[in-house]
């Protein structure tokens, strides 16, 4: 239990997926203009990464390892994730229309989110069991949500500030992200 907690805190705060590992930067910089859309994106990412880490972990230990096909992991994982996102979209549309309306627009964007594939590969590299993989996936996704919601909040505040013309747009967002990364480095002492 203690080990699981350490994995969750480690992946959510200490090794934050965006601010210290640079995975999932495209949505982090792109979908963070408003807090509400950022939260929607975060929720969709939590949903997909958790399911994807379970699926890829099962496929790796159940199919690739027994058949000695581990060298195919990159190809298999990306196809599984792409298919999974499509499948989740269809199921949500049919079964839980309210959730689909909230998350629907963000789901197609997630296939190309490198955090999903990154978590799947890290789980394999660290030789996590199924349970540990799911906890690691969930922690990573929660870390992503925390970071993107904070960034969106800051961007809403600085929108009408007087910023040097050259720094308007992307550069000021990058500087903000850099300052957040410094703050998150403070978590390094937690574990």
């Amino acid at each position: 239990m203690k080990e699981l907690l350490l994995i969750a805190v480690g992946s959510a705060l200490v090794n934050n997926v965006v601010l210290s590992q640079f995975l999932g930067l495209c949505p982090f910089l792109g979908v963070s203009k408003k807090t509400s859309t950022a939260a929607g994106m975060g929720a969709a990412v939590i949903f997909v990464i958790t399911i994807a880490s379970a699926c890829t972990s099962l496929i790796y230990t159940g199919i690739l390892v027994p058949l000695d096909l581990t060298y195919l992991q990159t190809i298999v994982f990306i196809l599984v994730i792409a298919a999974l996102v499509q499948f989740v979209e269809m199921v949500l549309k049919k079964m839980v229309p309210s959730l689909y309306r909230a998350l629907g627009v963000y789901l197609p964007l997630i296939t190309t989110n490198c955090a999903v594939l990154g978590v799947a590969i890290l789980n394999v590299q660290k030789e996590y069991t199924l349970l540990k993989s799911v906890v690691n996936g969930l922690g990573t996704a929660v870390g992503f949500t925390i970071a993107i919601v904070i960034l969106a909040g800051i961007r809403e505040r600085i929108e009408y500030n007087d910023i040097a013309p050259s720094f308007k747009g992307m550069p000021i967002v990058l500087v903000t992200a850099g300052l957040m990364a410094i703050a998150f480095m403070g978590f390094a002492g937690v574990i």
């Binding site: 210290s20 930067l25 495209c26 910089l29 792109g30 196809l79 792409a82 989110n113």
Partner: protein, 224 residues
């Protein structure tokens, strides 16, 4: 020949994937802790880009339109796996330094973007040079970022000491430094664009199909 040179110029200067199109941000920030790592990542991506562009251009009339994106992803993933094994065998130090970011080349927007907007519509040879140009443009950007971070953070360039150790600012080698250096480089570019009367840079909106559209140059498509 003229077309090949035009493709190289387009990739390195006119549509530089990092500075102009703002694509492939994850490896750009993550692997540029030193100049050597930046060059390594840039050249690895170039190799994958050239190989996948050539294969996709060769198969462009065989792949049905409805399943083209999954087909491209499989081709790119295959090339990445091959390149990863080559690195493991011949350049283990680069492989260790880049680690998880090598398999993640699969989800680099630049590669799918070029496949969709150029290689799927053009013959093999121009696609090869398109991949080479874009890859070299990416390498130049990564080297620039890597060189700045290594110089400021560790006081060295390619391992040679330039600034005495007491004056190095180690935050530039760590994660926050990547954001700051890129912010400054984009700001410099905005300054240049403003002088030419162009609008400042906007990042991608997290939607890679949007990136693909921006990569696509409508004029070329008519030519082809």
């Amino acid at each position: 020949m003229k077309r090949a040179l035009e493709r190289l110029y387009n990739g390195i200067i006119k549509e530089n994937p990092t500075f102009v199109l703002m694509l492939g941000m994850c490896p750009t920030l993550a692997t540029t802790t030193s100049l050597m790592n930046g060059i390594g990542m840039g050249l690895t991506t170039t190799l994958v880009l050239v190989l996948s562009n050539v294969v996709i251009a060769a198969l462009r009339n065989l792949i049905p339109n409805g399943v083209r994106v999954p087909a491209y992803i499989v081709i790119v993933a295959t090339m990445v796996t091959i390149v990863q094994f080559l690195l493991e065998a011949y350049l283990p130090s680069i492989n260790d330094a880049l680690g998880i970011y090598i398999p993640l080349i699969v989800v680099n927007c630049i590669i799918l973007g070029r496949a969709e907007s150029y290689a799927s519509k053009n013959p093999v040879i121009p696609s090869l040079f398109d991949g080479l140009g874009m890859g070299l443009g990416f390498t130049v950007a990564l080297s620039l970022l890597g060189a700045f971070r290594e110089l400021l953070g560790a006081g060295t360039v390619l391992g040679y000491r330039i600034i005495p150790e007491d004056f190095s600012i180690s935050i530039f080698v760590l994660a926050p430094g990547a954001f700051f250096v890129l912010a400054c480089l984009v700001a410099v570019q905005n300054k240049i664009r403003a002088a030419k009367g162009k609008k400042p840079q906007e990042g991608c909106n997290g939607d890679c199909s949007g990136c693909t559209n921006r990569c696509g140059n409508p004029k070329e498509e008519v030519e082809a």
